[in-house]
Symmetry: C2
Subunit: 527 residues, 2 copies
């Protein structure tokens, strides 16, 4: 562009209008990996104050960070992505975000509208790529409508409990003269459940049959969780939660609950004997994968499902109404977790030992990002004795979420410690997230569980083949030739590093990492 | 799964049938990143011989490798991807592959068909994700039809010049009893162009007007390139090629041609004065991006386009017929490149100096993977004096292709040296490709151009803002805080490493890297 054709800086172009609308709508963080078609957005950042941009080296970091940011900040971040392929790179973690019901405003650059017909190299069906992972998609076609389009995107992202909204921004819409700034309407509160649903739930909880109160969504933290504990105390129902939770409260002082296990046989066993399942923020539990001759639904065939509140309904109101109907509003909650006085154990590294070390040392109000896959399957029990904390799971099952999520959580919560339970295989999908942690100086401690394999898949294969393990299959499931050198990978991206080969190493390194206040990685060497 | 429910190993299940059909159809390499839903495919590898599987730690490596493999091997590889998100991670390099017209058979795992309705965490609209980056998409719904579906996928992938074919494989279709093995039909030859098109091209080339013969696709190598050189010698037309070429021959003994420059003003200048453009395997040249007040089409307004052969037509036949019509079949080709006798230069690192070093030392028959972006823009001139080689460009403009492409090229061509011209920003999208290079012990030397920035975007921003560079915009375009430590990143993934701070360092390190015969990375430190 000739400088002669540039609008003077006091004239508003589309990019400026977009940026001002985001900021006016309280979208104040943008995880970004821009390209040429987004340069007007980037240029506008020098003229409009109020947007914190976090540079990421890969778009999967962008989208994973935005997912976790929403879960902690409870308001959407924006992303900045480069046309169809940039959105494609963000896709797996947008899938996870959509399943987590996180609100995100994706801004995806596009060619100038007149340029699309020429099928230049980066031309792609952006809306087609966006649709499977978005709840809302719109291509803005006029700079003068861009403020309104942006406000609509923010409104869509905020729709309770949260949605992925994708706004496609053609380059000319960004550079042409625009008008004004819009502000997204305040979000509507979640819908309340019907009196009939409360009555049905209360009736089930009173009828004496063996009952599971299954929590999900917003019901595993704060006031709703406390209410669930009162209901359990009053009625004797079992308090359980879905296998994966976007953000759950745990540790001392919080009501404890059991999560449905991942492994199908363990899940079926855990639910055996349940005659009724009262669903609050949850759905009838389903296996992660299907297997020959195993059921997809995990509850017993004759277990009656009693849906009280969907995840997009008001679970606080629903549990309050249930407690009232049951006379449990003042009942002291059952199963409140107690702080364990156990010292961190010593000796060889085991999953149980890791859990005990983390539980002993986890700081108050930490945010735990859990992508520990096979290593972390039994962590929950020990964590009931930890200091109070938030615990976040990957919601869409697409690994490569943990390190990006650490970026987003730490940006959302300055002053809180972020602890990441990460697996070596999972970490490698989005390893460059480490650089964003270093770039922003974020307070995150990563426990990297190094078992040099896709251990979860080895388990699947062993079960499948009756113990057979051939060299061709193992070639795809072992990561030990060459081994990944975690010291190099961590320091190469700018992080502090320590290695733990015993539990006492781990306790020392974890403590030091937490105290450092900056991003650091502890390789936990599993046998 | 209980072992009791496993079919005995001599019974064919869907996965076995799929694998045998691929091998029978000469698809003998699979770039893979499997998950639980693909375990039956993985298990079948222990029972069926003939498939080389290359494990990758991220699906963008899988798809970029498959793209480059096709360009060199001239037959498709398979990929193995884990449901919608795994396909999503592969999407950017599938976009590049589709634009390159590379043939790929994607095998994408899916939940068992009965399980899809339960909306488990990994459930996604796989076909919807596949469609924007695939020429052919099918979900196989019956194990007994899987062999035929697989053969159809291979046939689609091979359709000239090459297509992305995506076969979705539900888990139950993989595990259920199947029948037989199919074999893909041999591909049809490319369509010949009409006599009228040849006559129009010949007439244009004879009429004395200033003419560009613009090559693309298969016309920039082998017999077609030589024929183009004869035509240029006979008619005096200018021989040019599209900006991005999937695989071009260059260096001593090959007919030289100028590529249309990337920067719009340079492209317009290079084409100024052209009255006619004869298109063989190419399209009217289009800018990579649009800019305000610049044209999308780069040829002069009054330049007559004479389409002779599309990229999917038989360019060898077309150029042969043109040469015959022009009496050029025996004319010695114009512009045959001569081996330069220049010694590698010494002194500070400059783009020109890098090009001269590489040109001097490039081994005979090397494959050059070029993702050098801003640093490499002027490399072509020097390369005319290099030993004969193949040169591959990124075709869809989505960076993060170079390192994966090195994996695919090296697997396709044992015995040839692969040289990668890579930029630091681009490398970070798919950095774990380094591990696959190390895992397979591939003969690849990576020249990593470290300028610690998205230099190309800084250029765009400077042009746009008339020289203004604010701190907010630069925050997104500089990669120097913290700097990426390339020694750690290379060795951490298992590669040999050297750093070059002068051209003599570069010459030494490049030579040593080539001689090592294994994967190695040379950081070329740019000012």
């Amino acid at each position: 562009m000739d400088t002669a054709t540039m609008p003077p800086t006091n004239v508003m172009n589309g990019a400026t209008s977009l940026l001002r609308t985001l900021i006016a709508s309280d979208v104040r963080v943008c995880f970004a990996n821009p390209g040429t078609s987004e340069m007007h957005f980037v240029e506008a950042l020098d003229r409009v104050e109020g947007m914190r941009c976090v540079p990421c080296l890969f778009e999967g970091v962008v989208s994973g960070a935005a997912d976790a940011y929403y879960r902690i900040a409870e308001k959407p971040a924006a992303t900045l992505l480069h046309l169809g392929p940039g959105l494609g790179n963000a896709l797996a973690n947008l899938h996870n975000a959509k399943k987590a019901r996180s609100g995100i405003v994706n801004v995806v650059g596009e060619h100038a509208l007149e340029h699309i017909r020429y099928d230049a190299p980066l031309t792609a069906d952006i809306e087609g790529i966006a649709r499977p992972v978005s709840n809302w998609v719109r291509t803005s076609r006029d700079a003068r409508a861009l403020a309104a389009d942006t406000a609509a995107a923010v409104e869509a992202a905020r729709e309770y409990p949260g949605q992925v909204a994708t706004l496609v921004l053609p380059a000319n819409v960004a550079w042409e003269t625009a008008e004004g700034t819009a502000m997204a309407r305040a979000p509507s509160p979640p819908a309340r459940v019907s009196k009939e649903a409360i009555a049905a739930g209360a009736a089930a909880l009173k009828n004496g049959a063996s009952t599971v109160l299954l929590l999900g969504g917003g019901a595993v933290r704060g006031r709703p969780l406390e209410l669930a504990g009162r209901i359990a105390a009053k009625t004797g129902c079992r308090l359980m939660a879905e296998f994966a939770l976007a953000r759950a409260e745990g540790g001392a002082g919080r009501v404890g609950f059991a999560k449905i296990p991942y492994v199908v046989d363990a899940a079926t066993a855990a639910l055996a004997g349940a005659r009724q399942m009262v669903l609050v923020g949850s759905r009838p539990p389903v296996s992660f994968f299907a297997y020959p001759d195993k059921p997809s639904l995990q509850a017993p065939h004759d277990c009656l499902m009693v849906p009280v509140a969907r995840v997009d309904q008001d679970v606080t109101d629903a549990l309050g109404a249930l407690a009232d109907a049951l006379g449990a509003a003042a009942t002291p909650p059952a199963g409140v977790c107690q702080r364990s006085k156990d010292k961190p154990p010593t000796g060889p590294i085991t999953p149980e030992g890791i859990a005990a070390v983390v539980a002993a040392l986890l700081p108050e109000n930490a945010i735990v990002v859990d992508e520990s896959v096979s290593t972390g399957r039994g962590f929950a029990r020990a964590m009931t004795g930890a200091a109070p904390h938030d615990w976040m799971n990957i919601m869409g099952g697409s690994i490569g979420w943990g390190l990006p999520a650490a970026v987003g959580a730490a940006v959302a919560a300055p002053g809180r410690k972020v602890v990441v339970m990460e697996s070596d295989g999972s970490a490698m999908y989005t390893i460059s997230a480490l650089w964003s942690l270093a770039r922003e100086g974020l307070d995150a401690t990563i426990l990297l569980f190094s078992n040099r394999s896709y251990r979860i898949l080895q388990g699947e294969l062993t079960r499948m083949g009756g113990g057979r393990k051939g060299s061709a299959s193992m070639n795809l499931l072992e990561l030990d030739q060459p081994p990944l050198d975690w010291k190099s990978l961590a320091t190469g991206h700018g992080l502090q590093f320590a290695r733990a080969e015993t539990l006492e190493d781990l306790a020392r390194a974890f403590d030091r990492g937490l105290k450092s206040g900056g991003p650091n990685l502890v390789e936990v060497v599993l046998p």
